[in-house]
């Protein structure tokens, strides 16, 4: 039984270990030099009997029972587990495309390498993952001007069930106590010009009600996450996240998905899903403990999605000349008159550049009211023509 896992974050590592322990021959592929994924990178010393870890290797196409890797190289599989995670979603505001604005995830990654980013920093966005980022920046000696959470904490009062099932999450908050005094809710950065940053108080729909100016060198932005689901363009998805059943099976035969590609709920949920996917892929019944952890974790994930849903008032932040698509320099005022995503792209070039809309497509859809139809990118990562030309000849079977 050959099992291939794409992604070496909490979900992928758990899937690989579990499948190997069940006797499968496992290859785990990850684009980074170290295992660990977004959150654990640098702290996960991965090595497990029965798992071959291919580092610095990107996967770009699933074709039948073959996974195509950069190089080029191919891996044949009996079962495939996709655990490619997610990246943060920025929202455009005047100045977001200029110097001194990065995503919260990028800030966290740089902080893990011990890079001091700036003196005065702001973290702005929504969701609990802003807190570890702020903590990491402060630990590196930055002055935390503010941590701005756009949503209202009272939204969590409606989520008693999810909280009861996930008490340990409250405990995690204690780890961030140093940054809590800097936390302001119903607040967001809505413009940045040089080191002058406009910070607004928001109503419940995120429309600005008042604002003030503060000074900062770096603004880290994260309004939730967008999953990396390009490897299976034909799998059933909801809001771009893969739909999976209770064994983490996608709608594509022999392909499983685990972690943030199925929903956002933190590293422990990702890991539990990885255990379930790894066991199921290897043909075993998933362990009851992991199944229960997934059930509880999903309650939390769903509550998180509700409490920190992006509210439409952000659409009042950008000005007509604010960039929406950074790769192709498309401004808000360039987005006119389209009725479908495809028409919008081909008339304005939004989402047609290097990032292929991974960053801007959803924002452009919301700004124009065009239905967001889950982008279908059939090549998951850019690949030089020379590598395509060097693909092996097809075997005549």
């Amino acid at each position: 039984m050959r099992i291939v896992v794409v992604g070496a974050g909490p979900a992928g590592m758990a899937a690989a270990r579990t499948a190997a322990d069940a006797g499968a021959e496992v290859t785990m592929v990850d684009s980074e030099p170290e295992a660990g994924g977004q959150y654990l990178r640098g702290r996960a010393r991965f090595s497990h009997a029965g798992v071959t870890h291919l580092k610095n290797t990107e996967a770009w196409l699933v074709e039948g029972n073959t996974l195509h890797l950069r190089g080029p190289a191919q891996l044949r599989f009996d079962a495939l587990v996709i655990a490619t995670g997610a990246y943060d979603r920025p929202l455009p505001f005047p100045g977001w495309d200029g110097p001194g604005v990065i995503t919260a995830g990028a800030a966290q990654a740089l902080a893990k390498q011990g890079v001091t980013l700036a003196e005065r920093v702001i973290v702005t966005g929504t969701g609990p993952f802003l807190l570890p980022v702020a903590t990491a920046l402060q630990d590196l000696g930055a002055t935390l001007v503010g941590v701005y959470e756009a949503s209202s904490p009272t939204r969590w009062l409606r989520e008693a069930k999810a909280i009861t099932a996930n008490r340990h999450k409250i405990g995690e908050l204690a780890g961030y106590r140093k940054v809590l005094p800097r936390l302001e809710t119903r607040t967001a950065v809505i413009a940045k010009h040089g080191d002058r940053v406009t910070v607004a108080k928001l109503d419940s729909r995120w429309r600005p009600v008042s604002h003030r100016t503060v000074h900062a060198d770096l603004v880290c932005v994260g309004y939730g996450f967008l999953p990396r689901t390009d490897l299976l363009p034909d799998a059933r998805r909801t809001n771009d996240f893969y739909d999976v059943d209770e064994r983490q099976r996608t709608s594509v035969e022999n392909v499983y998905a685990a972690g943030e590609v199925t929903g956002i709920g933190g590293a422990d949920l990702a890991e539990a899903e990885g255990v379930v996917a790894g066991a199921a892929a290897a043909g075993l019944n998933p362990p009851a403990k992991a199944v229960e952890a997934v059930r509880k974790g999903r309650l939390f994930a769903q509550a998180l999605a509700r409490a920190h849903a992006v509210q439409p008032g952000w659409q009042t932040w950008p000005a007509p000349d604010t960039t929406v698509c950074r790769c192709e320099k498309v401004r808000l005022e360039d987005l006119t008159g389209a009725t479908s995503m495809r028409e919008l792209k081909l008339t304005s070039r939004v989402a047609m550049g290097r990032c292929q809309g991974r960053i801007c497509a959803r924002n452009a859809a919301e700004l124009t009211g065009v239905p967001f139809d889950g982008q279908r990118r059939v090549i998951a990562v850019p690949i030089p023509l020379g590598e395509l030309a060097a693909l092996p000849e097809e075997k005549k079977s």
Binding site: L61, H68, D234, L346, P384, L385, G386, L388
Partner: protein
């Protein structure tokens, strides 16, 4: 108010028909299940070509279209960039030169140039090329913008037609009565009685490398692939850049129904042919691949005219890999036939009652 004509399909062909009908004073309603340019017309490279056509009725239609486009495509990134067809083997030299000579006799501006001349025009071209022909009339536009421009001032309704009798169309919202119906549903035209089938094509798009490639450049073996009816995968090298600096690489032809899965063998074949013409592309990354379904008739000629079995039902479809180039003349011819004007080209070769076309 009841429209004079309902055009089914808001692709480049439906849009050109609607524009020409309206210009003749008719009331036109366009219907499309997914909105303007949502089908094949958004998948094309937007070439307006005469270079790839052998003398015959399609070339006549292409030349007539080429004259009409500049005025119609003003806001659609119209660019008279010219085409360069190159032979990459010694065996391909004579066929290319005699093809060009026959085209010249039919009114095409086809200049034979030396390999050195070709390299001066396209500095990154493979120096090993054996012959080259420069086509001054070949141009390019943005087909989605062109569709929009043609539809300006015309009502487009988003709905799906399930049936038509030539005097009305049936939609989920009810029956729309009219004087005549135009079937411009591209690769889906078979649903309304003509034998049009899909022929899959895939295009690779690179990251931007502005200024490196100036013309549309293609391998002389493209002409053979266009004319062939084989179901098997056929590829030929077609390379050009867009105004955004990305390079488009085609072209593949495959008959596999409406199956749109990407196959690595197609990517490989396209990449090899592009690199054979432009070795510097080896290290340029492909950031996307996309594809569509060319609507083709078994005898590879467009279908333009009234359906003898269903008076009032007109067809304008089957343009295969050339619908963007052929759109304005198709629209004008259809409108002229429908209103009884003298046609701009002989309509006989495109008539509906060809044995291969009636189903």
């Amino acid at each position: 108010m009841q429209p004079d004509v309902v055009v089914m399909g808001a692709g480049i062909i439906g849009a050109a028909c609607a524009q020409a009908l309206r210009a003749r004073g008719l009331g036109v309603l366009v219907v499309d299940r997914h909105g303007p340019a949502s089908g094949t017309s958004a998948a094309g490279e937007g070439n307006v070509l005469v270079s790839d056509k052998e003398p015959g009725p399609e070339l006549g239609l292409a030349l007539a279209s080429r004259d009409l486009w500049p005025e119609l495509a003003l806001d659609a990134e119209w660019e008279e960039k010219g085409g360069l067809v190159v032979a990459t083997t010694s065996g391909a030299v004579v066929p290319l030169q005699s093809f060009a000579a026959a085209q010249r006799a039919a009114g095409v501006d086809a200049c034979e140039i030396t390999a050195a001349d070709a390299l001066a025009r396209e500095p990154h071209l493979n120096p090993e090329i054996t012959a080259a022909v420069h086509y001054l009339q070949d141009a390019q536009l943005n087909p989605v913008k062109a569709t929009r421009t043609l539809l300006r001032g015309i009502e487009v309704r988003r709905t799906e037609v399930s049936a038509t009798d030539g005097r009305s169309v049936t939609t989920p919202e009810g029956v729309i009565s009219c004087g005549a119906v135009v079937n411009a549903t591209g690769p889906w035209a078979r649903n309304f009685g003509v034998n049009v089938l899909p022929r899959r094509g895939v295009v690779l798009v690179t990251t931007p490398i502005p200024g490196k490639i100036r013309h549309k450049v293609y391998d002389a073996d493209y002409v053979g692939a266009v004319a062939s009816g084989d179901a098997d995968l056929q590829t030929s090298g077609v390379v050009e850049s867009t105004q955004a600096g990305t390079v488009l690489i085609g072209s593949s032809r495959q008959r596999k129904g409406f199956d749109d899965t990407i196959e690595s063998k197609v990517l490989k074949a396209l990449a090899r042919k592009a690199i054979a013409m432009f070795p510097m592309l080896t290290n340029v990354p492909v950031m996307r691949a996309y594809g569509g379904f060319r609507p083709y008739a078994p005898d590879h000629l467009p279908i333009i005219g009234e359906d003898p079995r269903t008076p009032g039902l007109w067809h304008a479809t089957g343009h295969e890999g050339a619908g963007v180039g052929l759109a304005p003349a198709t629209g004008r011819l259809l409108a002229q036939l429908l209103t009884g004007e003298n046609p701009l080209v002989d309509p006989h070769p495109f008539r509906v009652d060809r044995p291969e076309v009636m189903v």
